[in-house]
Structures are given as C-alpha cells and as structure tokens.
Amino acid sequence: MAEALSRPGKARLGRLFVYGCLVVVALLYLMPLWVMVVTSLKPLDEIYGGSFIGVPKVVTLDAWRAAWSEACIGTECTGLKPYFVNSLLMVIPAVALSTGIGAINGYILTKWRFPGANFVFGLLLFGCFLPYQAILIPMARTLGLLGLAGSIPGLVAVHASYGICFTTLFFRNYFVSLPDELTKAAMVDGAGFFRIFWSVILPTSIPIIVVSCIWQFTQIWNDFLFGVSFTSGSSSPITVALNNIVNVTTGRKQYNVDMAAAMIAAIPTLVVYIVAGRYFVRGLTAGAVKG
C-alpha cells in the first residue's frame, strides 16, 4: 500500500528522515551483536583489563575455536560440537512432528468441522499460554512413566506436544482462508481424507509451513528449561552446554569464549531468520495474523 503514499516531488527531506530513523534504530538493535562480536575476538586479558565494548586491540579467533571444539563442559572438553549435533537431532524431528501434526489439526478444524471443533481449538490454543515452569515436575513424571526420561526422544516429545498448540493456531488461521470448495472438489473426485490433505491441501500451504517451521525452530533451538530438565550429560542440547560454558559460579568467566559460544549457538536461528525472514512476514500475512 505504500506506493499510494509516495508522491513525487513531496519532499526528499521526508525520505531522508525515514531512512534516518530506520538506520538509527537498526544501529541500536545491532549494538548487542556488536558487543558480542568484538568480545569474541578479544583475548581474555584485554577484557579483564577493562575493555568491554570497545574495538579489540588484538583480533584472535581462539575463542571461536575454543567454543567450537575445545571448551570444557563439565569434565568433557569437547566444545559445543557434540551438543550442536544433539540440538539438530532434537530440533529436526520436533519441528517436523509439531508442524505435521499442527497441519493436520488445522486441516481438520477448518475443512472437517465437527460439533465442538471450536471448543477443541480453544483448548489447544490455551496451551500456547502456559508458563512452562509450572509443569516441569509432572512432565518429568510422565516422561519417566513413558521411559523417555533423560533422552533426546523424550525432549522431542515435550517440544512437539507444546508445539502443537502454536502450529495448530498457525495452520488453522491459514486454512480458514482456503476455499472449502477445494476440499469438496477433491471429495467429488473421489479423494479421501488423507489423500485430500496430502495431494491438495499440503502443497498449497508452503508459506504457512515456513512460518510454522521458523517459529518452532527458534523456540525449540533456544529452549533451555526443557533441555536442562529432561536431558542429561552428553544428550543435552546446545543451550544447556552453552549455559555450562557461560554460567560459571565460582570460577572465572571466559567472556570471549562465552560470546563466541553464544554466537555459534545462535547461527542456525540467525540463518533461518535471514534466509526465510521474507517468507516469515509473508506467511504471517497469510495466516498467523487475522485481519
């Protein structure tokens, strides 16, 4: 809708102001990232010598190397590498599961409405707003009963079940805008419940799949609470390892390694945001936001 507003001849000054604002805000937003980057490139002594946010005098990648493959997490000095893999092992099935289930739920709640469908949706939706600290202990018990305690599959199950609430919301709002006639046409063509979903509905939902995946990926990748509660030792996700590097109590903090580790931990989500950011907004337009 913007082109309607940009009138020719109407003050280059205005444009300048707009760009100015945007750039200033962008710089403010980048400040913490700047701090992290420069810190990760400094030797530790320089930091303890009092240089916290200035430009590094000596640039070194030691901290990055240490964070990736040398730093000790407990008595295992493997760096973040194995935990990075753990996180991938956790995030991929969890995102896939929650997105898949959310998609099929959204499909049912819009195209196969049954009495009480809205109520079911309401029930699912409220799960989005649960403070997770409150449910750690019963969840631990449940995982124990299921024999999933302390394992990556257990963590996947936890993330997938709370993820369903969000993904169902996304997909439902998206599918509401798909014409019902599409399903009807496929029914007349002889397609059944799953066939319609797979051949007709799913191929049309790429934008919202992207949104759902981005959201779930970020949430699950960055989760610490569930990771620390439901896994242990070498099966921990990267946030737990990161915490172990960062959250030193009675030792000395290696700030440069901390920052490098933090950025390593953030790389996948950053990549996802930068690569798919456009689809994020587009997908939001398509489904997550109503109106």
Binding site: Y48, C72, F230
Partner: protein, 394 residues
C-alpha cells in the same frame, strides 16, 4: 568394571581440573565416569535437573550436594546409605562434628564430603595498603576507617557485585563478627525470633550500610571474578569472598602476604564460616553402578585425592586429618584457624551457601540483606522484614 553418572554444577576451569583428580583416580580403578554438568544459578539448575530426574525415576549414580540437599533427599529415601563404608573408613572421626548434620541422616551416612571452603575471607591488595599506610584491620570499625582512607585516595575500597550471594557473604560475616558466634547460632541456625528482632541485629544492618559506602556505584551485574580482577589490578583494595578467589591471585603469579593479603573478616572471635561439597549416591538397582558408587565414595574420601583435589580447587580438605604442608599460606592459615574455630565453636555453616538454616529461611536472609544493601531501607525496617519473612516461611 562399571559406569557411574555424576551430576554436578562445576563448570569453571579450576573446578573441572579439580574434579578431574577424582575422575582419574576412579578411572584408574577401572570405573567409567559419565559426566553430567549443569552449571548456573549456584547449583539451582542442577537441583532442578535432579528433581526432574528423580521424579522421572531416572536418578544419576552420584550427585554433588550443597547444604541441606543431601539430607532432604535422604529423608525421601532415595539416597544410598554409605554407613558400612564410613564405619570401615573411620570417616566420622576424620570430619569436624559440625559437618555431620550435612552428611548423615539418622543412622545413615549419606554423602562423602570432598572439600571445605571458607566463605568469610577478605582479599586485599598489599601495595595499596602499603601506599596508603594502612594495616590489616582488626575490627570492622577499623576496616571501615581503612576503607574511608583508601576512598579519599581515589581507590575503590571494596570491590564486589550486586548479586544477593555476594552481599550475603558480608552479611553472614557481620552476623558473627559483630555479635559473636552464639548470636549467629541463635539467628542463622536456630532462627530464634527474639534474637532475630533484637537491637543487635539492627547493629548488623547498620554496619552493612557502612560497607555499602565503601562500594563503587558500578557494582551492578559485576561478576565476582571481575571484582577480584579489580583488586589484583589495584583499582580496588579489598574484596569479601570465599577462598575460591585465591585462584585468581595465584593465576597471576601473585604471592600471599607479599602481593596480597588474605585474612578473615575481623571479629572478636575469629569466625570460620564454611561450606562443603559432598557427593551422595542414589539408590539404584543396577549392580555395576552400585559397585561404582562404592568406588567413587572411597575415592573421594581418600586423603590423597582430597589433597590433590583441594590443591587445585583452592579449598582445604574436608577431612581434618589431611596435612596441608604443600598448600599455600592462605590455605594453611585457614586450616589452622579451622582447628581453633572447632574448639571455640565458631566454626559455623554459611547461610548464604545453605549450610545454616534450610533454604526457605536462608533465602529470606539473603533477600533482606540484598534489598537493604542496594536500596535505602532503614536498619529497623530491614530487621522487621527479616522477622516477618522468617515467620512467613515457617
């Protein structure tokens, strides 16, 4: 021969190095050490992980205990009784009697203590003291005077951060130093309402306010190690901190008494406020793990291991009978003062690290002290808040 998973919250370099002493010894005996570290929040994250795992019925083989945790788990009947080993190894005799409440539960012996930290140390930059012509203070009043002198010279007298536990260290020390160990016993351990609300308590807060005057304004969010760095660099003169701070000085090649002072917080009776780390074993059905548990407990209580461990960790052995001849001067000082304190009854658990009152009460102390320290509350209000807080937690 067996594998044991050890859940602990030691993640910093010196801690891990020390832990490796135990690990190597255990592995020499043929047992595998499976490491589960959960750092952060003074062990609360590890606590929470443990609780999840016990709830799930999936406990680790061994767990590092702090404060009352071991006892509380033992009351739930999930901790393995090591009494046979303790009796055979004479552990009870080798430990200070003050420690026993934290490693036994009724008849059972539930945890093997590895080390003992003293919390109420003062670390000072000798050069600054000399330049200012001040000596090591003998009383808190002197300490405040010293601080003021230093402050006039543009030096930060006390380096610290604003975390409640850093403030708590000072509060714990004052509680005993100003009113004596009995007062500490009555308030911090027995939670006697009368003592808690007494004018003596007001004095403690008054003094805490004085200390606040010696701290610079940028103390928020400052890590304790950064504060130590300030003392080392000569930006600040003193720091109140447990003996883990010593490692920072030694790492810089500084020598006790030559380059820096270590002395106990000043008091009429020299207090020794301790905290210990111990390892408890959970009841498990797997026999190989059970064997490994025995081996681990014995390794921990091995005097040789205790020495090796503590040389690295900066603390002193939990066992009284391990000689400290190879240790540095500060450790020796601590070791000797411990012996004296055991005698005088001034060896007491530190509230801040959970070795006095149970956590629900201990946190009231640290809440009040921290709020008082960073805010503008009057001492009388702080005392009232303390009394009602403790009442509420009962």
């Amino acid at each position: 021969e067996g594998q044991i998973e050890v859940l602990h919250h030691w993640v910093s370099q010196s801690e891990v190095d020390a832990l490796n002493v135990i690990r190597k010894e255990l592995e020499a005996k043929g047992f595998e050490w499976k490491d589960s570290a959960v750092g952060g929040m003074s062990g609360a994250n590890a606590q929470q992980a443990l609780r999840s795992r016990l709830t799930a019925g999936n406990p680790p083989g061994a767990m590092q205990f702090l404060g009352w945790e071991g006892v509380q788990w033992a009351e739930q009947g999930v901790v393995r009784d090591l009494n046979d080993l303790a009796t055979a190894g004479g552990w009870r005799e080798a430990l200070a009697p003050q420690l026993l409440p934290f490693v036994t539960s009724g008849e059972a012996f539930i945890a093997a203590p590895i080390n003992m930290h003293r919390q109420n140390w003062v670390w000072a930059n000798r050069k600054l003291f000399d330049d200012a012509g001040v000596a090591v203070p003998k009383t808190w009043a002197e300490l405040i005077e010293t601080g003021k002198t230093l402050k006039e010279k543009g030096i930060v007298p006390v380096a610290m951060g604003d975390e409640p536990w850093q403030i708590g260290i000072i509060f714990d020390a004052l509680l005993s130093d100003i009113n004596g160990p009995e007062f500490y016993q009555k308030t911090a351990i027995d939670l006697d309402p009368e003592a808690l609300g007494s004018p003596e308590m007001v004095k403690v807060f008054d003094m805490l306010r004085e200390v606040r005057g010696l701290v610079d304004d940028n103390f928020v969010g400052r890590d304790w190690a950064v504060a130590t760095g300030m003392v080392i660099n000569g930006e600040a003169a003193m720091q109140f901190m447990g003996d883990w701070a010593k490692g920072e000085f030694l790492a810089k090649g500084l020598k006790p008494n030559q380059d820096f002072y270590c002395f106990a917080t000043p008091g009429e009776v020299n207090a020794f406020q301790y905290l210990i780390d111990s390892f408890g074993m959970f009841t498990v059905s797997d026999e190989t793990v059970q064997k490994a548990q025995v081996a681990l407990a014995e390794t921990i209580m091995d005097p040789k291991v205790q020495k090796g461990f503590n040389l690295i960790k900066g603390s002193i052995p939990a066992r009284n009978d391990v000689p400290v001849d190879d240790f540095d001067d500060c450790a020796k000082l601590g070791y000797h003062e411990r012996a004296a304190a055991i005698e005088k009854g001034s060896m007491q658990g530190a509230i801040t690290h959970g070795f006095a009152a149970k956590p629900e009460f201990a946190s009231v102390f640290s809440d009040v002290a921290a709020q008082f320290f960073v805010g503008k509350m009057s001492s009388e209000d702080a005392v009232k808040m303390l009394v009602s807080g403790i009442d509420n937690a009962r």
